[in-house]
Amino acid sequence: MLLSLNSFLVLGALLFCIGLFGALSKRNAISVLMGIEIMLNAVNITLVAFSSAFQHSAHGARLSGQVFAVFIITVAAAEAAVALATIIAIYRRKSSVDVTEINMMKW
C-alpha cells in the first residue's frame, strides 16, 4: 500500500483537533458529546493505522490496535446511552440542554 502511515496519522490528528474544538466551543450538551465522539474516532483511525503499519510484526502487536478500537466503540456506545439518559433527565426538568445554563454552581 502506497498510502503512508503519516497521512493517516495527520488525518487522525486533524480530526482530533476538530473534535476538541467542537467539544470546547459548543454550548449544547449534545453537540459537546458529538465533538467527543469525533475525538474518539480520531483515536480509532490512529490505532488502526498503527496496527496496519505493524503488518509484518507479531500478531499480537498488529491486532491489538484493532481490538482496542473495537473496545473504544463499545465503550462509546455505553457512554452515549448514559449521557443521553442524563440529558433527557435534565431536559425534562429544565427544558434546556445548554451547558452554559448549567450554572447553579459557581466555579
Partner: protein, 184 residues
C-alpha cells in the same frame, strides 16, 4: 496505487469536511447527520487499512445504532428544529424532479446489474473469489481478529460486558426516576 491515493484524499476531504460540519452547523440535527457521514468515511478508511471487521462494526454499531440514538434524542428534545428542516411540502418542484430522475437512473442501474450478472465471466468470478480468499489469508482479517479477540484479549472482552451492564443499569435508573417523579 494511484487510485488508492486519490481515494484517500477524496475521503479525507469528506471526513474533515463533515467533521467541520458537525461543529459548524447550528442545528443539532444537521450536526448529527454530518457526524454520520464522518463515521462512514472512517469506516471506509478502516477498509483501506484492511480492518474489515472494524469497518463493519463502525457502520453497524457507530453510524447505525449510536447515531440513531443521537438523532432520536436531538429530535425529541428540540421539536422547534422540525420547522427549520425542509418538510416534503416545502420541497421545490425541481427537487422532486431531480429525485425522480435519480431514482429512475438508480433503478435502471440496479436492474442492469441484476439482469447482466449472468454475463460475468466464470473465470473472473473464480479469480475474484480466489483473490478475496488469498487476501484474507494473507492479511488475516476477520478470522485472525476473532482469534485475537477470543484468545489473547478474552479478558478485556469479558470486562466490556460488565461495562455494558453498568451502562444499562445507569440508563434505567436515570430514565425511571423522571417517570416516577412525573407520576407523583
Amino acid at each position: 496505487m494511484l487510485a488508492g491515493q486519490i481515494a484517500f484524499y477524496v475521503l479525507a476531504a469528506a471526513a474533515i469536511g463533515s467533521g467541520i460540519g458537525v461543529i459548524a452547523f447550528r442545528n443539532a440535527v444537521y450536526s448529527a447527520l454530518s457526524l454520520i457521514v464522518n463515521l462512514f468515511c472512517l469506516a471506509l478508511f478502516f477498509l483501506m487499512l484492511n480492518a474489515i471487521f472494524l469497518a463493519t462494526v463502525q457502520v453497524l454499531v457507530y453510524a447505525g445504532a449510536i447515531m440513531v440514538l443521537f438523532l432520536f434524542v436531538v429530535t425529541m428534545l428540540s421539536p422547534e428544529n422540525d420547522e427549520s428542516l425542509p418538510t416534503p411540502d416545502r420541497l421545490g418542484l425541481w427537487q422532486r424532479g431531480a429525485a425522480v430522475g435519480l431514482g429512475i437512473i438508480l433503478a435502471g442501474a440496479i436492474g442492469y446489474i441484476v439482469v447482466g450478472q449472468a454475463a460475468l465471466h466464470p473465470d473472473a468470478v473464480a479469480t475474484g473469489a480466489q483473490d478475496l480468499a488469498s487476501q484474507i489469508s494473507r492479511n488475516g482479517n476477520t478470522e485472525a481478529f476473532g482469534q485475537a479477540l477470543f484468545h489473547g484479549f478474552l479478558f478485556p472482552f469479558e470486562v466490556t460486558s460488565v461495562i455494558l451492564v453498568a451502562a444499562i443499569v445507569g440508563a434505567v435508573v436515570l430514565g425511571r426516576r423522571t417517570s416516577s417523579r412525573e407520576g407523583e
